[in-house]
């Protein structure tokens, strides 16, 4: 009898531990993307993109009906992000769940003033994942979300996930995740570079067929026709909780190379011997970059960063025999020179235009200070614009592709 009582008590104790948050998945609205903008009729305009599961799973049995909407995008004016989840009940009959939110998009206007303030709830609220991507739109976030329509996939969550996950196949998208962004944003010694997203805009102006790097564009201005309305390219630089400027694709690649998050890019390099012709190379990191920081006698930091890269020759337009072992160095030098040019532009933006260390060089400087207090007192962010920074590249050709030698075309 006593055993029975004990068993009963233990059993009930077990149920005290339950958190009773049983919920059927079909009673929940799964938010896959969030947009935050400066409000029109309240503090914020929050845009929710909700996946329409029935159409995604094809449970309607509608066969090839590809025209069904797979996402529901609604904007509301509310005082705060999480207030939106309650107001949602006014128009959606399900509980809002943010645990599968893939992206949070900040409108440009909001990012330029209040980025940090509205990033904070993401850190505290348990439904957000540390892997949620933070994006900044070149216009309003609600426009982006409304324009974003998955074409290759039915699931908008997958669309955002794959889209932002492209950082490891292109150099033009920064490696992100709100955890990293939050750390960069809060730490002295670094500025965050978050993914830039934009709705395509037709920027009038006369056509300009001069050769340009494919990385010289930013989201929303890529010259293309057809396809989805939303681009992801380049980075928005956030300094002290405010967005200070935008990097194009090439500058973003340099940022990633120096930070060590670079994986792959394709570079179109002018042929050193044949003006107007190009060598196309694929570039990978060889090792983590070597960054050396010293504090000079004038109290300003001196930074030498060496980025170690390797790559493959994809194409030599001129047919010049650069593949020969003794001539490979020419290609390598051309690539290094090209990268140096990009690096100069990026560094110029970092030091003179934005005054923001988006290369996160400060992280390498930290170890020079014995205490955190000393590091904070040093005020890296203020000294960085005056610092002597040199970024150098060491590129080695690994493979020359399937051609041993090119016979010049006639």
């Amino acid at each position: 009898m006593r055993l029975l009582k004990l068993g009963f008590l233990l059993l009930t104790a077990l149920f005290l531990a339950g958190c009773w948050d049983y919920q059927e998945p079909d009673e929940v609205a799964w938010v896959v993307a969030l947009g935050l903008d400066r409000g029109r009729e309240n503090l914020l305009t929050v845009t929710l993109q909700i996946a329409v599961a029935a159409n995604i799973a094809g449970a309607g049995g509608g066969g090839a009906g590809g025209t069904e909407r797979t996402a529901l995008t609604v904007s509301m004016d509310v005082p705060s992000l999480l207030a939106a989840t309650e107001l949602t009940h006014a128009w959606v009959n399900r509980r809002i769940d943010l645990s599968h939110t893939k992206v949070v998009i900040f409108g440009r206007e909001l990012a330029e003033t209040d980025f940090s303030r509205h990033l904070a709830p993401l850190v505290r609220f348990r439904e957000f994942r540390p892997t949620t991507q933070v994006l900044v739109a070149n216009g309003r976030a609600e426009e982006v979300l409304r324009a974003a329509e998955p074409v290759l996939e039915t699931n908008p969550g997958k669309y955002w996930e794959l889209h932002t996950g492209a950082w490891d196949t292109t150099g033009f998208i920064p490696r992100n995740g709100f955890l990293n962004v939050n750390i960069d944003n809060k730490s002295p010694g670094a500025a965050a570079g978050v993914i830039l997203v934009g709705v395509r805009r037709d920027e009038g102006g006369p056509p300009d067929p001069t050769p340009k790097s494919q990385g010289s564009y930013k989201a929303g201005t890529i010259p293309r026709r057809g396809g989805p309305q939303v681009d992801i390219m380049g980075a928005a630089v956030i300094r002290n909780g405010r967005m200070v400027g935008v990097l194009n694709g090439d500058e973003t690649a340099i940022m990633k190379m120096v930070r060590g998050t670079f994986r792959e890019t394709i570079k179109v390099v002018p042929d050193p011997l044949h003006p107007g012709q190009f060598i196309i190379v694929q570039i990978f990191p060889r090792q983590q970059p070597e960054v050396d920081v010293r504090i000079g006698e004038d109290g300003l930091p001196r930074v030498t960063a060496r980025v170690l890269l390797e790559g493959n020759i994809i194409f030599i337009q001129s047919g010049e025999h650069y593949e020969r072992p003794e001539r490979l160095r020419q290609v390598e030098r051309a690539v290094e020179e090209n990268l140096r040019k990009d690096a100069r532009a990026a560094l110029d933006k970092a030091q003179n235009e934005f005054g923001a260390d988006f290369f996160a060089l400060g992280y390498h400087a930290k170890r020079l200070f014995p205490t955190w207090q000393a590091w904070e007192d040093f005020a890296w962010d203020e000294k960085f614009p005056e610092a002597a920074v040199s970024i150098d590249f060491d590129f080695q050709v690994r493979q020359i592709g399937l051609l041993r030698e090119t016979v010049p075309g006639r």
């Binding site: 077990l14 948050d21 919920q23 059927e24 998945p25 079909d26 929940v28 799964w30 799973a57 599968h100």
Partner: protein, 584 residues
């Protein structure tokens, strides 16, 4: 407490202490038909039965008088109503002739053996001249009457009966049990000892292929219903003089022969003694199946898993005996019981040892996976889908959500519905007569699978879950063990739906603790993992045959090593190994 007592009084059957007219209606009819005085038939029968049972209980010795013995036998076997018992009076052709009586059952007795090995030599070929002293003994019991009777018995046994197995029996109890098992019993006038002559000739199924434990590689014979044949099948594999077969009779009503097999030079004597002690102690009317016997001898009747391994394969029994285990065979039953057994041996199949070790090991891991799925998959599915949606990839979650969109029931109900339907299919599949068996496939697959989904009663993903669970449980080679897993699955579904993964983990914790507490004939059920004991490469995975050097430690056999450290004599050994040939 008093409530319990009342309940038990209501529910538990107690044998009535005095004759209760339990068959009133029947008697009513008889009375009307034949005019038998009320109650007399039942009362008389009861009294007579009681008297006979009491008589047998006393185990009376045989009488020297043939007539007296015959009278008692007629009473015991209910002659003349009973037509199965044959009493054959005849004279032994000695000089002077002796009156004798041959008693046997019509049916289980081999009539040829009876005619040629008993009646023919005794009636025609006897020609034995009895000296005066022996012949006249019956009339004048003298001082050395006993010894002369022994002499006569010895003479008959040694010179007149050519049967291979002739044993003397002195009491009615022995005689009756031998008659019932198909032997013939010879009574000779003047002797208070009968001779039991082996004439068994039961009709029995031949040795067939295993129906349940089928293998692709390995011997294809299985036990049959004849205990003698079964023992022969084991002996055929294990030709060893130390292989001992002991018989213990189990059951008072239809005493079944129960054979205990062990290798005398390997099995732990304490284990053998314990098996015999448990078998001898059983007080029961009737045990006909090893599954019933199992319930009488297992350590924990309420345990979560079978503590005795049943097998229909002689090779498995032989392998177990060689490891130092004990096998119990029951007459009339093709399932042998092997004790002690452990959790890991529940997931072993005979074939693991017969294929090369990587494949044996792979098959075992597949089975562990199957075990995990059969036990946990539906529970984990319910837990994840209703509590931990952040666990699943978004695509899968949306697939779950979309699939459930038009399903009217909560996930738990849906899962329970489908799991119970499947259990129903499985149960029906066993009970369905073979001739209509094909309809079950149509009903099961089409109606429950496709139609349930089309009708939006369950989601299609759930069908996949149920199918995987079913496959998992079929991959468990031990049928009783898979039964226990099937039942426990529902506990995990309940825990998963009430407490999520937390509940499943709590359940797993309790489950493992209970398993760890279980013993099989004193051997911890989770040995050699809990408690950790020395073990060869044959519990979780299956090592190469030449690495199976030691018998399992937890059985504590008389001899631990079964092959030397270098069992492949042809391999070139390194210097270090040379120094200690054969290891310890």
């Amino acid at each position: 407490m008093s409530l319990l007592r009342t309940l038990s009084r209501l529910l538990v059957f107690r044998e009535p202490q005095e004759p209760v007219s339990a068959f009133d209606s029947g008697r009513e009819d008889r009375r009307r038909a034949g005019g038998v005085p009320a109650g007399s038939g039942y009362q008389d029968k009861f009294r007579e039965t009681y008297r006979l049972n009491a008589l047998l209980e006393q185990d009376p010795p045989l009488s020297t008088s043939l007539d007296e013995n015959e009278r008692l036998l007629r009473e015991i076997f209910r002659l003349p109503e009973n037509k199965d018992v044959v009493l054959r009076p005849f004279s032994i052709a000695t000089d002077p002739p002796l009156r004798a009586l041959l008693v046997s059952l019509d049916g289980p007795t081999d009539r040829n053996v009876q005619n040629l090995a008993i009646l023919q030599p005794l009636m025609l070929l006897a020609g034995l001249r009895l000296d005066q002293r022996l012949a006249g003994e019956e009339n004048t019991p003298g001082a050395n009457g006993a010894s002369t009777r022994q002499e006569l018995l010895r003479r008959i046994r040694e010179t007149l009966l050519p049967g291979s197995k002739v044993t003397p029996a002195g009491t009615f109890k022995d005689v009756i049990s031998d008659i019932l098992s198909g032997n013939s019993v010879l009574f000779v006038d003047g002797l208070d000892t009968a001779l039991v002559i082996e004439t068994r000739g039961w009709a029995s199924r031949g040795v067939g292929t295993p129906q349940v434990e089928a293998v692709i590689r390995g011997p294809q014979d299985a036990f049959t219903e004849q205990i003698r044949i079964n023992i022969t099948l084991v002996r055929k594999i294990l030709r060893r003089s130390s292989l001992v077969t002991e018989f213990i009779k189990v059951g008072r009503m239809g005493a079944h022969q129960c054979a205990v097999l062990y290798l005398d030079d390997i099995a732990n004597p304490d284990l053998v003694a314990e098996v015999k002690r448990r078998l001898r102690s059983i007080q029961v009317d009737y045990v006909s199946e090893s599954g019933m016997l199992e319930q009488f001898i297992e350590d924990a009747p309420a345990g979560l898993a079978p503590q005795v391994k049943a097998t229909e394969r002689p090779d498995r029994v032989a392998a177990s005996l060689a490891e130092g285990r004990v096998a119990i065979l029951l007459d009339g039953n093709p399932w042998a019981l092997v004790v002690p057994t452990t959790f890991f041996s529940m997931l072993h199949a005979a074939e693991d040892a017969y294929v090369r070790w990587p494949f044996g090991t792979f098959a075992r891991f597949i089975r562990y996976l199957g075990l995990g799925m059969a036990l946990l998959l539906p529970g984990v599915y319910v837990a994840i889908i209703t509590y931990h949606q952040e666990f699943v990839p978004t695509d899968l979650l949306l697939a779950f959500t979309g699939a459930r969109e038009q399903v009217p029931f909560p996930t738990v109900v849906e899962v329970l519905l489908m799991e119970f339907s499947f259990e129903l299919i499985r149960e029906a599949g066993i009970r369905i007569p073979g001739t209509v068996g094909t309809t079950l496939g149509i009903v099961g697959a089409l109606i429950l699978g496709q139609a349930a989904v089309e009708a939006k009663i369950v989601s299609p993903i759930l069908i996949v879950i149920v199918a995987l669970t079913a496959l998992g449980s079929f991959a468990i080679p031990n049928y009783p063990f898979s039964l226990s897993i099937r039942m426990l699955r529902f506990a995990y579904i309940a825990l998963g739906s009430l407490l999520g993964l937390f509940g499943i983990l709590v359940g797993l914790f309790v489950h493992l603790a209970l398993l760890a507490r279980l013993t099989s004939f004193g051997v911890p059920y989770l040995a050699p993992v809990a408690p950790v004991t020395r073990s060869g490469p044959d519990f979780l995975w299956r090592g190469p045959a030449w690495e199976q050097e030691q018998r399992p430690d937890y059985i504590d056999p008389l001899r631990r090593r079964r092959q030397p450290r270098i069992s492949r004599g042809w391999v070139r050994v390194r210097k270090k190994d040379d120094e200690r040939p054969g290891g310890r």
